[in-house]
Symmetry: C2
Subunit: 531 residues, 2 copies
Amino acid sequence: MAMGSPRIVVIGGGFAGTTAARHLLRRHRDMSVLLVSQENYFVYQPLLPEVVGGAIHALDTVAPLREMLPGAELRAASVRTVDLTQRWIEVVEGSAGRVERLAYDHLVLAMGLVADLSRYPGLEEHGFTVKDAAEAYALRNHVIGCLEQAAIMGDESHRKRLLTFVVVGGGYSGIEVLGEMHELVRRALPFYPTLHATAPRFVLVEYQNAILPEVPQDLAHYAHRVLHGRGIEFMLGHGVKAAAATALELDDGTIIDTMTVVATIGNGPTPLARELGLKMEHGRIVTEPDMRVPDFDNVWAIGDAASTPLARSDRPAPPTAQAAVREGEILAANILAAMDGRPTQPLTFKSRGAFASLGGRRAVALVFGLRLSGLSAWLLWLVAYAAMLPTWSTRIRVTLERLLDLALPRSVTRTRMGGVAPSRYVRHRAGDVVLSPGQLGDGVHLVIEGSYEQAAPEGAGKVFLPGDSFGQAEIAAGMPHKRFVRAREPSRCFILGREEYLNIQEALRQARERLPAGQGAAGSAAIPSEG
Amino acid sequence: MAMGSPRIVVIGGGFAGTTAARHLLRRHRDMSVLLVSQENYFVYQPLLPEVVGGAIHALDTVAPLREMLPGAELRAASVRTVDLTQRWIEVVEGSAGRVERLAYDHLVLAMGLVADLSRYPGLEEHGFTVKDAAEAYALRNHVIGCLEQAAIMGDESHRKRLLTFVVVGGGYSGIEVLGEMHELVRRALPFYPTLHATAPRFVLVEYQNAILPEVPQDLAHYAHRVLHGRGIEFMLGHGVKAAAATALELDDGTIIDTMTVVATIGNGPTPLARELGLKMEHGRIVTEPDMRVPDFDNVWAIGDAASTPLARSDRPAPPTAQAAVREGEILAANILAAMDGRPTQPLTFKSRGAFASLGGRRAVALVFGLRLSGLSAWLLWLVAYAAMLPTWSTRIRVTLERLLDLALPRSVTRTRMGGVAPSRYVRHRAGDVVLSPGQLGDGVHLVIEGSYEQAAPEGAGKVFLPGDSFGQAEIAAGMPHKRFVRAREPSRCFILGREEYLNIQEALRQARERLPAGQGAAGSAAIPSEG
């Protein structure tokens, strides 16, 4: 990093942020460009559906920012505060949460959007999102886990539920994830002989009456035909009402019993973007045509996080990778122009086309007006994606894996590498069984809303209300539950995982054991005590 | 699974268990073989050092048991109880912890050994082990994390500490992990320009006066020369005294400042093996020469979990993959012989050779008495391992990755897929800094042993004793610490991670908010309350 030279800070390591940084360095060698990203890698999101399907390795969809951006200064950190008037940002780094203040001359806001499922009750708790490699891999593991459980499940209705997979949202990512999940299950089932009797069920729920609004109708129809031909159910014109642990409810009251709901709808601004107090439109920061943030001559916004008006169009630039790359390029030119006092140029953008893979060597493609479908589109998609990948390493590895996948079986290994959340929220519908006899239980349940009832031989049993919790006795003793616990009404609880609960109890036991005589364990109130 | 036919239950999905199951099915098609394994995959442990080095994908070191063992019944479950007289086992399955009892006619104990670092204070808390794919990948992520932190670390001494990597144990796995870690750092450093000034440090600590006892002296010397030539320090004839968050102490008082201690020493029986009450030797279940457990005609033990006397040898069969495979083969024959009332055969075993990769295209090999070292040994190792891999899929993928690794850079991406432990124990030496001004802190600290002191401007500050906790106020407020917190003496505390602590507090807040009037939150005592 060159001293004295103007410092440009880019927040966000996606398509927009990395393109901007690369072009700034390319046009101006001794410029000081600092890129701040939560992770130290770039995620090639278009590949994530294939990670869900197990066709390619999660790690081959990501590329190290340090490899992509030689010459840039990189911080794997989260941004805590931005002071647009004082011209600095504050970042939090490392496991110890080191806070550091960094000054800038120009600031580029390219933090993208985050999944926001809050509009749909239960979807935040039970909807899978596919925003990064870890999430995609976790969903894949969950699907395999459903097969494993179903394979040893006696109860027919629950087995069917485990084998029902629902995707909400009929855009690209919804259709691609659906196609890949179907492919994964289709190719995994032969390894589960006990499941040959039960056919898996796949459902697409889309609020509009058509899928793939991004491509011409005939291609969308082709995609619909192909997926329908594989037995996938389409519930078009249906919205989501609510999700719970064991079912998805649609706005017309339809109940789909499932353990797997993938939500590809609902994006919102990052917490940081909210706090900036800038003018927003549909959760995106409104900019001038040159991507400058109004009232600031040194603050810019690009990518999904920004809403930039397009010349000769009533719509802002679309939230696509193509547009983000274009914005990054022009932004670099504009920042340099602004520094030299030259006029900036407005954003112009024209889509070069669109792809949607359907899994099973089928895709639809619209490239420079040319319409393709089927195997030819899939091959074009294969090549095009490889070309768009960020590094040679990922290009070669991804292409090889896709070709190997044509010949080799898909793996059904389920590792703990997806990372198991130690705690989570769960919603139940009235009557849902939360704990069954013979189960150790998955954790301590703290009731947040509604109420639960423990079945008793003589009828009405113990009731748990908000603030109450249950399950700890059985976990502490390592003894299975003897009775059913059911939700009495639509309810919500917080589950602290079995293992984590036991770890915490053990720590408290050890601390108490060593309490100095006459010393109270004041602080330990900050950590769980036995119930 | 064939009804009525005798049911054989195998506990453990390693080399021994999978070989036994495969040969049982091969020799007797309609036999009912049930294999119970914690995971639904087989781990090819010899590849794990390369996962640490980032040369191959963690997921390519594992193969699905369902793919390896068609015809076997598989349970991804943990064994809770074994009743050797009633002839059943009890397993726990799935996230809900479903408990199920399974009867057997013959039982095969092949659960292997687990890492047991309890003999070395602090090593359980701060020693990395490399027993499965997730652990290997977590260690790789940790190494990259050390580079990321060092790259932005102002404090010279802490930067040195972050760049010091220690391996304890000079056997195969210790040497291989050491070589691969060195290779990873060597190839990653070019991406960290700010680190060009500081040279990384690698140390091997071995209690014996030589490394690689498994191979002939001249090969061991070669390995020593090669690694020494790379600047790796050898501390031979040194034992570990204790480990702490920021240092490793040796038995002669030597202190090595480091954040990375890999422990390849110390194996012990699984909790299950302990509970069986069978005769053990060095933590392994003693068997008859035919691998039968004394006093039981239908219980057998093989693999690392077993200690089986060898004909014409004063030593039991070694705990190696080769021996485990051999044992699995003979066991299958013996179980069938026992069923038919034929005599069983005693275990015989002769090692076919040994390999140790040194990273950087160097290895030592002893094959059928032939001694090789350097590139030729490495090439032989490449081919031999590929041949020994469990499925065609892994053979092809691993070989391809190893070849790609010769040409492509190693990735420095650090994903959260390793899984971050929500809570952990940490040991500190007297004077160790636990929290510094400007840090949010990594979590709530509950003091277990010793004591900590918060520095105060006017000298002696607040003291935290066992049962006390600190850090929650700053985390709750999201404000960085203003003062140092140091260990006053050798101390130990339990850290509940920042994110997890906040999740739990938020859940409690929501529960309280909805408390029915006049209702006490009895149960919530089971989950943390604000400190």
